[in-house]
Each structure stands twice: as structure tokens, then as C-alpha cells.
Symmetry: C2
Subunit: 251 residues, 2 copies
Amino acid sequence: MPNQPFLSAPATSATVALERALSVHKPLDETGLAAVRACFATSVEMLHGPGVDLTPEFRRSAARLVVRGWIARGAALEDGRRQIVGLHLPGDVMAAPAANEADLSVWTLTDAATICAERFWREAETARAAGQGVGPAWNALRAAERTRLVHQIVRLGRLSAFERTAHLLVELHERQVRVGLAPPGEIALPLTQDVLADILGLSVVHMNRTLQQMRRRGLISYQGGRVVLPDPAALHQAGRRVAPDGQAPSS
Amino acid sequence: MPNQPFLSAPATSATVALERALSVHKPLDETGLAAVRACFATSVEMLHGPGVDLTPEFRRSAARLVVRGWIARGAALEDGRRQIVGLHLPGDVMAAPAANEADLSVWTLTDAATICAERFWREAETARAAGQGVGPAWNALRAAERTRLVHQIVRLGRLSAFERTAHLLVELHERQVRVGLAPPGEIALPLTQDVLADILGLSVVHMNRTLQQMRRRGLISYQGGRVVLPDPAALHQAGRRVAPDGQAPSS
DNA sequence: CGGGACCTTGATTATCTTCAATGCTAGTGG
DNA sequence: CCACTAGCATTGAAGATAATCAAGGTCCCG
């Protein structure tokens, strides 16, 4: 259990995922591309094992780019309950939990690699205020992050366990397909049901049963951290309607 | 039911609440004060009745300052379910729902007055990127808004109805006391239990019973839109622990 | 007085949690 | 190679929490 981060080779291509994410809004030209890369030129990738608290990293840099792996941001209550607020995927720029979010922490869910993004953050924010360069794209990324928070609230507040699950999977699907992390109809999901439960505000047991229900209905199938969505549209529909407790088709 | 907004006198002092909110971080000097006021000098206050959708207003201006009244931002599902994502109080600057938040809407909960804040928004964002003028204060306000979203997620995901209610009340209390909207130990709460239920992801019936429970335990008392908190610390505690179903002390 | 908005109550049902096992698989050390 | 363990998925049973359904009740207002 490597609690101690390792250093890795200086990474010039570590920004590939970020470049893709920014390009979703509008493809970056050569100048923009170079500017983004320059922000990470002197930085060194840091490797983290799974289940590692990233708070120490954030003490040194207030923003980090996810190069590889899945990272969770969430709160842990005194009595052991845990709520994951959002997920960070490769290409995401994570801000350190703010001072008024002292109860929040950020930790790795899988093996992961991150890199300091303070310089990029500053430059992107400036560009945003000016509406120049990566500004609009960066703005779109930040807006998408906020929208995900809002969706999380609606999920937890008003959707049933079944709907929540479908809704989350659809969101992850769109998010991954958009930046090329997964082909259409598939999701990379290297998460235990335990973690999924903490995202969706459910108990592990109920999470398990809900996933079984979705499999029985043929909405999903999965193995080894890879989820297949035979009919994304149907799943999308399931995320916005109350799911009647239908009979299992098998015998 | 005035669905049509009225115009009111040009408002120079409409920014009082905003000035207070900004000053929480660091008192504004004369220059800063003047700069803020200048952003609203030529604007006209707009009056809205309760229960009015503000989407049309946002079509004309992407940001509005709440001068008076309570405003909700939330999503309505096709089948009638409704989840309020956040509340806007006097002094808040509301951004129009983003393009990727098409399912979101903003509506008044009480009589309200708003004013266009596009110019202020632009200037504040510039100041923020530069770290000058109202930049830091504006940054703090925006961070606080994000923190409230996060808290909302934790509430809905992992707190019981009782805890949720306590947690929300504590948050509203701190928020109002900070900007002088309520004296310590009190909260202005001009909301129906129906609306509270839509904030906390509960049914109206259960909302009602939960509030009764809190009253029976002496944690709150209220009448006419004004909640009294005899012991804010106890309420705060109630927001972070599972509430055992104790007996009512009366009789 | 009637109507509407809101609060309250009781009874019933559904959803979800908790508790307690069991099984499976991969990794580990003998 | 095999017992041994740890982490994860799964299952059944029981219980808690919250939703739903269906009435009343109160207050205010036209």
C-alpha cells in the first residue's frame, strides 16, 4: 500500500487527456496547444497507489491535473458514513478543497498519476476573464463540473436507487465518450460497489441489488471494470422515470 | 399573481446587501464601494411576485443581483417531482442557468426584487483573475456558493431527514447572520414546508413530522416565517449525528 | 360563506438499511 | 501445491425510515 507517492519521468505527454477535454469545446490551435504544454513542462508526474489521501499533495500545489486513474472528492462523517461528491477522471484539473470545505477530502480510487497544475490554473483563469485562448474551453470545463454537482443533487434528492444508478451511468458514459476515455456503448468503471454506493448515497447491499436489477433487465452488463450498455437510450430513459418493480424475465 | 415584472425607482441603495456580503471577507474601501455601486447605477430594479419563473429575465441579462426576497434554483422532473438545488438570498448574484443545465430553472419563492448584474459580474470576474479590488471578496462569495452545493450533496446523500433539517437550518443561520439578514439565534424562513421538502428531498408529510420532532425536542420554535434557535450548538450537533427516536418530553 | 393555501394526522405500503452469512478469487507464505 | 487471508460480490431475513394515500383542520381572503 504505497502511501508515499513516487516520482516518475518528466511528463510532456501527460497533458493529452486535458488537451482532449479542452478541445471538446473548440479544437486548440498550435499556439494554444503549446501554451498548455508549457504549463506542465517543468513539472513532474507523481504516482499514487489506490486508496491514498491526496491532502498532502494539495498542501504543496493548490491545483493538480489528473494524468491517470480515478480520484474521488468527498466527505467522511465521524461515524463512518461517507459521501462522494464528485469524481476526477484523467484530464480533469482538481482544485484543492477550499478553506471553507475543511470537511472535504480527495483520495485515489485506483492507481493514479497527477501533476501540479497551478501554473495552468492561473493562466486559464486569466484567459477566461479575458475570453482569450483557452479561456472559453476552460470556462466550459468548469461549467460542466458545476453541472455535475447539480445533477448529483437531483439524483440524491429525488431519484430512486434504480434511477440514480442509471442516471450516473449515463453521465459517466457521456463524459467518457466525449473525451475518448471509452467507446460509445461502454464505460470504464474500475470502482467497487462499495464506492458506487458512496457516490449514490446507498448501502452496499442495496447497490448490489440495484445493479443486479439493471443486469436482469438487460440495461447493463459488466465484468472486470468495464460496463457495456446495450441500449444507452433505454438507460437514459430509466434515469428519468420511476422504475416499476417488474418480474425477472428468467424463469 | 403578477407574472409580469414591475419596474421600480432606479436603485442606488439596492446593493446594500451585496456590499455587506462582499465586506464579510474584507471591508470595502471607498473606491471599491463606489466601483460596486457604479455597476448598478444605470440599472432598474425589477419586482416579481411569488412563484414566478425568472427564465425570461435571464434571457435579457445573464446575471442578476437579488435585492429582496427568496429565490430558488432547481430542477423539475417530468412526473412532478422537484428538487431545489440552492437558494438565493438578498445580496446574492445569480448566474443564469448554463446551457448544459437546460433542465434547471430559477423561480421566486416570495415577493422579490432583482436587478441586472451583468456589468458587475464582468468586472468582478476580471478583478478576481487579477486578484485586485473586489476580486478576493468575490472569489470568497463564489467559493461559498460552491461549498453550499457540496453540503447539499452530503445532506441528501448521507443524512437522515432529521439531520438534514438541522444541517440546513444551521447553514441558513450562519449565512444570514454573516450578512446581517438575521440576528444570532434566529432565522428568517419565509418558506412553506412544501418548499423545504423540495430542498431536503423529502415528502411534505415527512418534512412536517420532522419539524414537529425538532420542536418537541426544543431545538427550534417558529411562527410566521421566523425560526428561533434556542441552542444553535445543539442544532449543529444534531446535524452530524444520527438522531435516536427519543420520547417526547411533554407528558 | 366558500375557496384556497397550508399545516397536521393516521394508516398503510414501499424503499432502503442493517445484520449476518456465504461464496468467490487472487495473492501470500509455508 | 495448498492452507490462509483479505477484499469484494452476493444472499436472506428483519427492521427502520420515509413515501403515499386520504382526511381533517386552520387561517386568510375575497
